[in-house]
Symmetry: C2
Subunit: 378 residues, 2 copies
């Protein structure tokens, strides 16, 4: 069983209020009141019993509306299943498609949970390194194609990417769908950061370029857009004709998600757009504060990410990202994730989550600046 270096860092200082917590994909705000209120109301109404395993019909409708509103795609509500978070969406997706020994190709560095979930399902992650040029990550589809072998079952894409900030262009998505059709492969698309971009349009979604019967599984979560990390609610979108499979997987994994959490999720989707816009704007303002400051630290190489809410910055001369992250935590009071947690190609980097108050971002930047200044004198 692989360890989780991010959880390891978090466990070192979970109860220490002086630490600025940028180690994990979580903002600094509690869940908005109207969402909590919806959960409380449902609880008080006695919605505390078993319900539809794969999600309340009203929630699946609200999810379809959400995708229509933001991406202009028409996805039948019957293609959604509600899960205990994005991670459980991914678990069910791989349970649905993997046989022991199957391979899953993924650009790396990537979220460590991906490889762990593939391994728990007795598959093997085949890492394909992003190309890197001047600190900027990009993907060559030819590199993915070269990794396809007889045991390849799926290609896993996370765009906007955690940790690299890369966003897959829509044309590349369309081309990958064509490749997957030809080769009989699944695409597993983790789109949890889709709204965290500059401008009025979200990051492209595979739903825009695929047909309802394509072998596409899209995973998502309520955690990021609506400050609901602790609620453990997400969703998976599957092709036409697979609803029975995902109803069963929901039954056998968690027997659904609490009804009062689903009611909160409905409120988030139906009433949450203005809040999400404000959250994204605040997040990007924090990003800009940090980008400015980190650009002035000579040891650091950093570029503006195309999407998501992470800076994945290189540190010159860093031998061991984990112990550097521990040092920065202890000496500077800033919690970062070591790049080595994200697999091959990550060991020269640290990951910083900027879904925070810009003022807190400024303080984190000051602390990082002082830390690196100290290493120069030491």
């Amino acid at each position: 069983m692989p360890t989780n270096q991010i959880a390891d860092i978090a466990d070192l200082a979970r109860e220490d209020p002086s630490v600025i917590r940028l180690w994990i994909g979580e903002g600094d705000l509690p869940t908005p009141d109207f969402i909590r209120g919806a959960a409380e109301q449902a609880m008080q109404a006695g919605q505390t019993r078993y319900t539809y395993g794969h999600g309340l019909p009203a929630l699946r409708r609200a999810l379809a509306d959400y995708h229509a509103r933001h991406w202009g795609v028409a996805v039948d509500p019957g293609r959604f299943s509600v899960t205990a978070g994005g991670v459980q969406a991914m678990m069910q997706a791989f349970q649905a498609i993997l046989e022991p020994g199957d391979e899953v190709i993924a650009p790396v560095p990537t979220w460590p949970n991906l490889g762990a979930i593939v391994r728990i399902n007795h598959g093997r992650l085949v890492p394909v390194p992003f190309r890197v040029s001047d600190g900027r990550f990009s993907l060559e589809l030819d590199d993915l194609v070269a990794a396809i072998g007889p045991r390849t079952r799926a290609i896993a894409i996370n765009s906007p990417s955690n940790p690299t900030g890369w966003v897959m262009p829509r044309e590349q998505m369309a081309e990958l769908v064509r490749i997957a059709r030809t080769r009989g492969l699944w695409i597993l698309s983790d789109e949890v950061y889709g709204l965290f971009v500059d401008g009025d349009r979200p990051a492209p979604s595979f739903l825009e370029v695929a047909e309802p019967d394509d072998r596409l599984l899209v995973t998502n979560t309520f955690s990021k857009n609506w400050c609901m990390t602790g609620w453990r609610a997400g969703w998976v979108i599957f092709p036409d004709g697979m609803s029975r499979v995902f109803e069963n997987l929901s039954q056998y994994n968690t027997t659904g998600v609490a009804t009062f959490i689903q009611q909160a999720a409905i409120s988030a989707l139906n009433e949450g757009d203005p809040g999400v816009r404000a959250l994204v704007a605040r997040t990007m303002a924090a990003r800009d504060v940090l980008l400015d400051a980190l650009a002035g630290i000579p040891e650091i190489t950093v570029v503006k990410p195309d999407g998501g809410f992470y800076l994945f910055f290189g540190v010159r001369g860093m031998n061991d990202a984990f112990s550097t992250a521990v040092r920065i935590l202890r000496e500077a009071g800033v919690g970062l994730a070591p790049g080595s947690a994200f697999g091959p190609g990550g060991s020269g980097y640290l990951r910083l989550c900027f879904a925070i108050d810009p003022a807190l971002a400024a303080e984190a930047a000051r602390r990082l600046d002082a830390f690196f200044a100290g290493t120069r004198q030491g």
Copy 2:
């Protein structure tokens, strides 16, 4: 992927208030107010973010206290992991121990989720029929031993048993622990109905007869004792030295359980004993009402279960339990689970959950009596 006949029955009438719902392992009461209040308080205090994946330290302590109080066992709080329900506890347990092709021996009839979870993890359930005499189920350990083969990894026991009402005697548990040690096998013990028995002592637990380093995994849930079916919270107890494995499995399956749900669980454990006693007494009163009534229906063979909250009754001349359950649902307005859902040996039975108001039990009994009277005339 196996279908779930119980969910299929429930889906036929989920929104029909005229149906008496005895199809599923769920009582008729909402969660007690003090438990809901604890969740609301935590939510209002902003406990809506990521937390310890395997459970709040206070919850793991409360779980250890609960087991000490009811079974007189000392289990280190570090051996508990909190899960999204009993079903997720079982999922993580099998993820921890199964390799593809491994076999799991289990007495049948049994809860269908067991076989499904084993299959999702690429294992194979090896059913060993209970002995049946005058409608009463019993287990011969020699039957289990005879089923052990080179690929056997575990023996799964559910006592009190869903659906049969069988309770494993403590001496038989001790003997099975000895057998498992000798053969290098795991015991997976699902003990969710442990408090649903007559008298002052709970049903025996494997924790009473095993050592902390025995290959024992115990799964449990908050659903039954505290009317929290919809909350999706449970726990798994693992041997010394496996906490890292279960921390990781928690991360990669659901990344924990909502903090506000964990706070509710703490209240349930620490303040819920009187309510559980009252619930068990009410449940057993409903059982007696139904036992009396069903004993008077000539087509039905029923015995008093030793534990749990199900009657698993034989129906003379029944060819197809599923279609009979559908007929009883449609014609009598009583939702039952078809025995065929519980695997080999179950097809001649129907399962009825009696965790209900005794008055509702009496109405259900009247409807069943009228239904069978009608079949005689028809």
